[in-house]
Symmetry: C2
Subunit: 207 residues, 2 copies
């Protein structure tokens, strides 16, 4: 089976994270999500917790967003907002990871950044009730809290994408393959992604 | 391989029609597009050419849309507009076809009509330049004419869907599987659809 770079974007609660992890495991290639965040943290001097919270949030536009200069890295932000600075660092990290070889990258606009290169760009979505059920169980929330959290996170992802991408989050133009985990389940999505690698046309493998 | 009902929605010029035809051929099941139109024509008394042109167009809302009562079927429209009358007839035809057994149905909001039943709902899309190239070749149009035609037809399909469906044309919520024919080609899309049938979870086959 060919090994390529696979980016996974996802609705909150749709299971994109376990799908990505399993695809990486099956292909025996690196999986980047929290790991990516740690890379970014190392490069930027930001605390990992701060990046995890702000890594997919759009610029607030307030003065507040300029307040968190990385500790011990005076002057490195060059007048950029926190979000813009983080975006620049993340771009470098993602491009470096892609250079290294095949991998799976979840979120962080990687699909947009690596567009046009030898990449399979996937979007995982699910019915509202399935997203809610997953978030309720995973995050120990009641139905109302889960729905609120899903709405908030997906809105933030959409806004983040709108700020830094030419196309739109969750729209076909931004992806090669879009899968409903409600229809196929996590395992089914994994199998379909693996199967789709062999169907990509006209591009040399990264291997 | 399991045989189910497969609905295919598509951007104009993305190749959804050949994809659907090849899937039906490979599965050895009926393919409905023009055939569906003929069924509708037989049931309604409308001329096939008229239905082909208006079958996925939204109600115009003008008096004009009430003007084309089917010949020889006086009074059957019961005060409905042409579009609403055609929609009702198409609903009946599609539901009857789905009752008969596995098949592939392209367009005509079939995905929406058969939602919740044992159906794989697919959307085929492509990059603008690929849609344009296909339409230029197929319809013998220049680049400008092709772009205009694509924009017009996709807008009509979107409006038609908005009139008769609870969800939105071209949006993930309306489909199970969305494929870029730019990434996978026509053959690749066919293979992925066939592969996805085995991954559908928790539903009995139509067979």
């Amino acid at each position: 089976m060919e090994k390529r770079i696979i980016t996974i974007s996802r609705e909150y609660g749709a299971g994109g994270l376990p799908v990505g992890r399993m695809v990486a495991e099956k292909l025996g290639i690196p999986f980047y999500d929290k790991k990516l965040v740690e890379h970014v943290a190392e490069e930027s001097g930001f605390a990992p917790k701060f990046i995890e919270e702000h890594g997919e949030h759009s610029p607030s536009g307030s003065m507040f967003s300029y307040a968190f200069a990385p500790q011990g890295v005076p002057g490195v932000m060059n007048g950029l907002s926190t979000s813009d600075y983080l975006w620049n660092v993340q771009c470098n990290v993602i491009l470096q990871l892609a250079e290294k070889g095949p991998c799976v990258i979840v979120g962080r606009c990687a699909s947009e950044l690596l567009k046009g290169s030898n990449v399979l760009s996937v979007f995982i979505y699910a019915d509202e009730q399935d997203c809610a059920a997953r978030v309720m169980q995973r995050n120990q929330l009641n139905e109302h809290e889960a729905a609120k959290r899903i709405k908030h996170v997906d809105r933030m992802r959409k806004k983040y994408f709108a700020c830094y991408a030419d196309s739109e989050w969750g729209q076909p133009e931004s992806y090669d393959l879009m899968l409903s985990s409600s229809k196929f389940g996590i395992d089914g999505c994994v199998e379909l992604i693996l199967g789709s690698l062999a169907q990509m046309k006209g591009e040399a493998s990264v291997e």
